[in-house]
Amino acid sequence: MAGLRARRARRQSTFRWTVLAVMGVFFLLPLAAMVEFTTRGDSNTWSLLADWPQLSATYPDLAEGIVASLGQALFTALLMLVLLVPTAIWVRLRLPGLRPLVEFICLLPLTIPAIVLVVGLAPVYAWVNYFLGGSSLTLTFAYTILVLPYAYRAIDAGLSAIDVKTLAEAARGLGASWFTVMARVVLPNIRSAVLSAAFLTVALVLGEFTIASLLNRTNLQVAINLLGKSSATMSVAVSLAALILAFVLLLLLSLFGDRRKASR
């Protein structure tokens, strides 16, 4: 009996390692190829990438794309937090009956392909152009909708982990206004969830191409696509750098999640 169990455990372990190896090769091989391609010969791609003044002089479109993407990521994260955090808390506290509806609305962008979104957004952006001009930062509005499903999930999970109602009632009884309840009681207790939502937003915005391209705006991915036509090495290097940045963000996110669990 024991021998049979040991043999089964060994077989399972072999299967696990095989799957891990195959998946590892599948994901790491293209990355390794990217590294090899960008460091081939006497290429100075990576040193150029680290030298911002020279990079922006050599590839002004790329520099503009990077700045636009960082701005979009920052403003999208801010707008998302300003809209979503108070809404999610208020729905939990005062309008629990609306929760399924809010959840449905927030998850809707996940079910609509980006190209369909653009079709709907195009006439809206005609007005955005009219009122706010054609700046790439105006993509913030579209991106806020795009990140709703992920950000809502993160914040909702954070709210589920605490007894929001009792904490709010305790604070109200002690004399706190609704604003104080949100700012000084609920928000500090869902800080890691809010950070997760912000990291996910940044990672998503840095990788977005379709909407920016079809609405004739620029961002990092649009710039990389353009650059690919003139300097393949640099475009691959920037892609790899963006990938690593997103990976680091997700790593930070999981670290925050772990710390939250450990503190329980």
């Binding site: 604070a171 109200r172 002690l174 104080t180």
Partner: protein, 340 residues
Amino acid sequence: MNGVAVHLNDLRRTFGAVHALDGLDLHIEPGELIALLGPSGCGKTTALRILAGLEDADSGRVLVGGKDITGLPANRRDMGMVFQAYSLFPHLTALENVQFGLKLRRRSGGDRAAAMLDLVGISAHAGRYPHQLSGGQQQRVALARALAIEPQVLLLDEPLSALDAKVRVQLRDEIRRIQTEVGTTTLFVTHDQEEALAIADRVGVMRSGRLEQLAAPAEVYLRPASAFVADFVGLSNRLPGVVEGDTVTVLGTRLPLVQKATGGPEVTALVRPESIGVVPDPGGAARVLSTAFLGPTSRVTLEVADSVVIAQVSGESLAELTVGTPVRIDLRPVPVALQD
């Protein structure tokens, strides 16, 4: 800190088709501790939440210190509350939790918060976070936090029900000690009859959104106003009896009635186990069915005629009451209630 009088006047509240409160009237004297006792869904927590301002009444008025506060939001009512669920703010230490309400009142609160933690006997853990405290310690801090703001009324919503038996009794006694010390008018909601009887100046037994009886603990226990109260507070045997005027004859003994009988002469009387004396007697009409040792007292289940009777006896007398022993039943002449 002086207590204030609290009046709940004709409070009504429905949740869908359920009448949680059906015209509740309650008057709490200044500095008094009233325990609202009742089964789940009787409206006791709803009454407390309406007093706290966490729930709105459909109709009726709430007066504190003679002032009508019915429409006042919870944060302006000046009431301290301890909840059944642990409600300490997880991101703050015990001391910071107690300081929270004081800071909202623009008082630095360091000394007062420390004094409150001292009062509830938890000053050694002032720097700890809620997850580093036991359930009992968390409720002590919650009590200190509620008292720190010097509330007009202290509201306790089943604060002991999540704790284990020993801690519960300990904290119950301490709540009583502290309440007497600070003199705050207090409403304590519980479904635990022993807790209510032990802690309160007066106990209000609730049923279907109304007060069935509001009286001193001994009065509620010894002279229940209705069969529901007799049945809910303490154990009762249901024994057949015959009414004659102001008395009822049960198992051959005449007992006084707590209230006049309204029905026919044949009734069901509610007799407390401790009112039943059990004496070993070879010619006795009853027989011991089973026994249970409970420490200072013991419980004996007897069979007499077609009825099963539960009696409470002292621990020592259990030795002579083995299963099958024939016994005689002596009823003490304390007033009994009749089943509706």
